[in-house]
């Protein structure tokens, strides 16, 4: 068994920054840091500083302790 703590693609979810200021917008994450943000995901993806390997994430607009789907 392999435990993926901080390696590989799943490790991209180790986000060091508090994303609260970005609620409702899109962020590009690399190495746990926000590289860029935008309200439009295509605009964000097409920025020069954003790489194909960055995680593009829509930051939820609210914090939810309980989620019912």
């Amino acid at each position: 068994m392999t435990t993926m703590e901080h390696r590989g693609a799943q490790g991209a979810l180790v986000i060091d920054e508090d994303l609260t200021p970005y609620r409702g917008s899109w962020v590009a994450i690399r190495d746990g840091k926000v590289i860029a943000s935008a309200l439009d995901p295509v605009e964000l993806r097409d920025r020069d500083e954003v790489l194909d390997t960055d995680l593009l994430l829509l930051v939820p607009s609210q914090t939810t302790n309980t989620l019912l789907l």
């Binding site: 392999t2 435990t3 979810l13 986000i15 914090t63 789907l69």
Partner: protein
């Protein structure tokens, strides 16, 4: 068999840790990127916030159609893909999942569904350990 154990994650401060999985999604326009979603055994198919549609090359009547879906509080409308895209779990890139995603207005969370992503992987939720395991399904 290779198996990953992935800890639950929170997306931002104060949010509850949940079983989030990162997939490399390739849209119908050929663009590819990492997308994080919640493993949702209650979702028949994968759904994404509508704002993901243009990012994945969707947005015309040639590749989307209106569909009705059931949810806890009744029914809702979504835009369903009529053209598939694909996704892989990067750590298991040999397993290519064909996705026919539904795009839901007002949603802010990607849900990896049972008939597509979860049909190709065995996933075990270990709530007591705040982690899940994932491995390619046999066959």
């Amino acid at each position: 068999m290779d198996e990953l154990t992935v800890p639950y994650r929170s997306l931002h401060a104060g949010d509850s840790p949940r079983p989030l999985l990162v997939l490399q999604v390739t849209g119908i326009g050929g663009h590819s990127g990492l997308v994080v979603g919640l493993i949702d055994s209650g979702a028949d198919v994968t759904s994404l916030p509508a704002r993901y549609a243009p990012l994945m090359g969707y947005g015309t009547t040639a590749n989307l159609q209106t569909e009705t879906f059931g949810q806890v509080s009744g029914t809702g409308n979504a835009l369903g893909a009529t053209v598939p895209c694909s996704a892989v779990v990067p750590e298991f890139a040999e397993v290519v999942v064909e996705l026919w995603p539904s795009f839901i207005a007002g949603s802010e969370m990607v849900l990896w569904g049972r008939r597509d992503v979860l049909a190709r992987f065995d996933v075990t939720i270990m709530e007591s350990r705040q982690a899940f395991t994932i491995a390619p399904a046999p066959g």
